[in-house]
Amino acid sequence: MSKGSRRLKTGGEIDRSQIINFEFNGTQYQGCQGDSLASALMANNVSLTARSFKYHRPRGIMGANSEEPASYVELLGDAASGSQPITTIVLREGLRAKAVNCWPTPSFDLMSVNQLIKNFIPAGFYYKTLMWPNWHFFEPHIRRIAGLAKAPERAPMSGQYESRYWFCDVLIVGAGPAGLMAALTVARSGARIVLVDDGSLPGGDLLNTKELLNGQPSKIWVNNVIDELDNLKNVLRLQESSAWAYREQNLVIVTERHPAPKQLIQRTWRIRARRVIIASGAIERTLVFKNNDRPGVMLASAVQAYINRYATLPGKRAVIFTNNDSAYQVAEDMIAAGIEIAAIVDCRKDPAPTHASPTGDIVHKTNHVVTKVVGRRRVRAVNLRSNATGDIKTIACDLLCVSGGWNPTVHLFSQARGSLRYEDSLSTFVPDTAAQANVCIGAAAGKFGLQEIFADALEAGHRAAIDCGFKILELSAPIAQTSAPYSIEALWHSNSDDLSASSFVDIQNDVTLHDVHLAIREGFGAIEHVKRYTTGGMGIDQGKTGNINIIGAVANQMNVALAEIGTTTYRSPFVPIELGAIAGGREDSAVLPYRHTPITQWHKDYGATMYESGAHWRRPGYYAKVGESLQQTINREALATRENLAIYDGSPLGKFEISGQDAIKLIEMLYTNQFSNLKVGMGRYGVMLTEDGRILDDGVTFKLHDDHYLMSTSTANAQTVYRHIQRFLQIERPEWRVWITPLTTQWSNATLCGPKARQVLSQLNSDIDFSSHAFPFMGLREGTIEGIKTRVCRVSFTGELSFEINVRSRDALKLWERLFEIGKPLDLVPIGSEANHVLRVEKGFLSLGHEVDGTADPYDLGMSWVMSKQKADYIGKRAVKVRRGQNRARRELVGLLTDDPYRLVTEGAPLTPDGKLEASEGFVTASVWSVARSRSVALALLADGRNRIGQKAYVRIKNDVIPVTITQPCFYDADSELMRS
């Protein structure tokens, strides 16, 4: 094999002076600037590039773009990827690639033994066998041989992904002749446009042909249009970019594969367009006959691309097999490039006159079909059959160009929910009715003559610009040299069946005509059944070259029209897209932002272990000292609170100011208990329900002034409560004059608690009288501390004397440090949420997510006092009445003491009758080591619990039965004297 032996001396969009070194399957090669990996390999005379998915048959390059069904490679190094079509990889220096799914190499692949048992494993064979002893027994072996590439082992080492929003008047997909013409038309009107093109260069099919426009090579026109567009400010042009998803409301997702800044790997655009023009062209179909997958069988259009664009010869002696006119143009280019045409085989009796007689002395076999390819690792010859006589003839060749006609690329149109119709004259599906503000033009609309395409594009461009309110300048289309009409005769397969099962309808997934027939025979005749039973069209190429042939084969076999069969669903993405590009570089805290208080850094410096505590807040869990176990730390912090002095950062607590003449009406509707008799400067604990009677939240609301309240909510529920209130107010009671101001992050707080809390406050420079008679429990005082404006609330979540000192967030750290300074000599201890949990469980205070798990109502929790009898109505009242109006045991909050005081039960553990292994009668909501009682204590919701206080119950932890005694749900200071002191 001589290097570069297949490279033409002149022509093509390649730069022969720029040599690029690359590696394929461990061998070093050279290509040129402008090559794709496929064209470079072809130029190096490498024809066997892959093995197939199921049977491991030798495969070569068939296409020139993303439609490629056969040859997939994985890139190596930092560019490591999954499977990529060999045709879409732009060659660059140092590129390393290897063929997927073969071992050790495509030319010598050990798995090719599968070819020997091919007849034994047709479509769906696995549904019929491998059941004994069970599937799991066979699965690992099957899995190992499935899959294509290995998944990349790590994220890219360098570079990043990015994503952007974009808004435009008109989005044009495709920069072929139709797209460019439409883009120019709209761009000149001044409308903001985006022009997206999948290829490495603009021009679409013009790059692959020798078309003349206005008497000059089409490249000149393309370059002129691109130059003009690139100089307009209202144009954004994205090259090497795939428009891969069409969502609702004209949102199109585009991923740029090689964005300009070098450090970017890929960039995804979410483009919202007022109008979308789909000029995505068409994809050539393959034809179905025996061994139509051999290396050397190529799409005619791909052959044309390799000759004209890449100046590479796919073969030396070719047969062309077609059912339509487009392949004749290719024949001319092949001859010009020096390929010998052994024959043109056309299934039609009378091909259209314009192309009826190919130049020179080429054998033109009309009314013939190719029935078989001879040669295993490369086409050596083809068999033809005359439709008239049935005679078979063999012609030697090393290249077979096939053209089964053209399928408009309707994927985006169809994703947008546009409907398709089968067009008999084109033997394919074309766009019918659009479902969004879009239009298909040119080949994507089934228009294949160049002049017709330009006219279509001009008109669509005009309309889009006018629809968006722009004026149109006069503009005319270039004059195409050839504007041949296109005609086709449907040919879904050459042989009615192929019992050898080697006529492929889906080359990538190794689905044969025989498989399709088998599916129909077994009743899987719906097109989605055919797809799912055979896996036809479910490969990485999503059946771009084969799906319509499958539909044709089904229609033929069932003797119905293709229109009746319909297509399978076109699903995004149009081409596979890297997940990294979809995520767009947002990672870690940009995926899930977290909130921190002004004191967070202090906590960390002090050795706090921080973790998620609801509503995205990160809070100190505990402050471990060297040598302490976790339990020792928690005990130390809890004990300090009970016996001495502690401080915690309560800033994340939800806070809202509610004001206006109807403020109290709102509060009365929200809470189950009464607030109208609350005095200024005092607060009250309240419970809120949802309308269907479940506990939504609890908290304390203070009356600041007449018609002015401060509501606090639990940390986790602050946002939910805010929405709940706003919704009720705006939708149900819009006439009420109430204003709600969320203040959660405006105010931070430091909460001092423990017997010595007042002692610290007394040392502060403050205008507030902290004495118990002047500042009672549940009171609120406004004033200054150390010159800082504060609101101090006497609430307690720990059961101890407690002052919650609220300050503006900017002053919070200053306050905290000052408190710490004064408290230090008194052995002030900062405590985290673990110790807080112990303290509240000892007191039997509720915690959302523990006791409040969606089933308990306030009565169950022993809080009948909170359910106002005076109020005629509040949210959830009626629902609670409905729920309690049945004879059904309720689970009620109780305390539990384990028989073994040192035994801590798991939170969430079920209680079962007599500890038996059966349905539970309750569960442990919280369980801690109580520092006050020096033993384990727990809270539980237990069926008929209050009537059972003093009795035994049993916690069931897997096979362990733990006897407990049912108690009141409070283990410390039952009369709550300490916190009122």
Partner: protein
């Protein structure tokens, strides 16, 4: 991802809003006047049509306004309806 027009802020991406479900009849002033089964129906039933549905949205990342739109549950088209539930 829809683009929804907030009556106060203008067109914004769906990500700025929360959906409050289909609009219901306004909450009764005195729920006690309803039977249990009427009240349960009020709580748990909601229109679930194949087609246009009137529903509540809130511009939570913006002005916090709750408003009503009519949206087709099949096409997701937002049908013109000038009314809002508020102010």
């Amino acid at each position: 991802m829809l683009e929804i027009t907030c009556p106060f802020c203008g067109p914004r991406s769906e990500t700025e809003y929360i959906n409050g479900g289909p609009s219901k009849v306004n909450r009764a002033e005195s729920p006690d006047g309803f039977t249990d089964s009427e009240w349960v129906d009020y709580l748990i039933l909601a229109p679930n049509p194949l087609g246009p549905v009137k529903e509540e949205w809130c511009h939570i990342m913006g002005c916090s306004l709750w408003f009503t739109i009519t949206r087709d549950t099949v096409t997701h088209e937002i049908l013109p309806s000038p009314e809002t539930s508020n102010e």
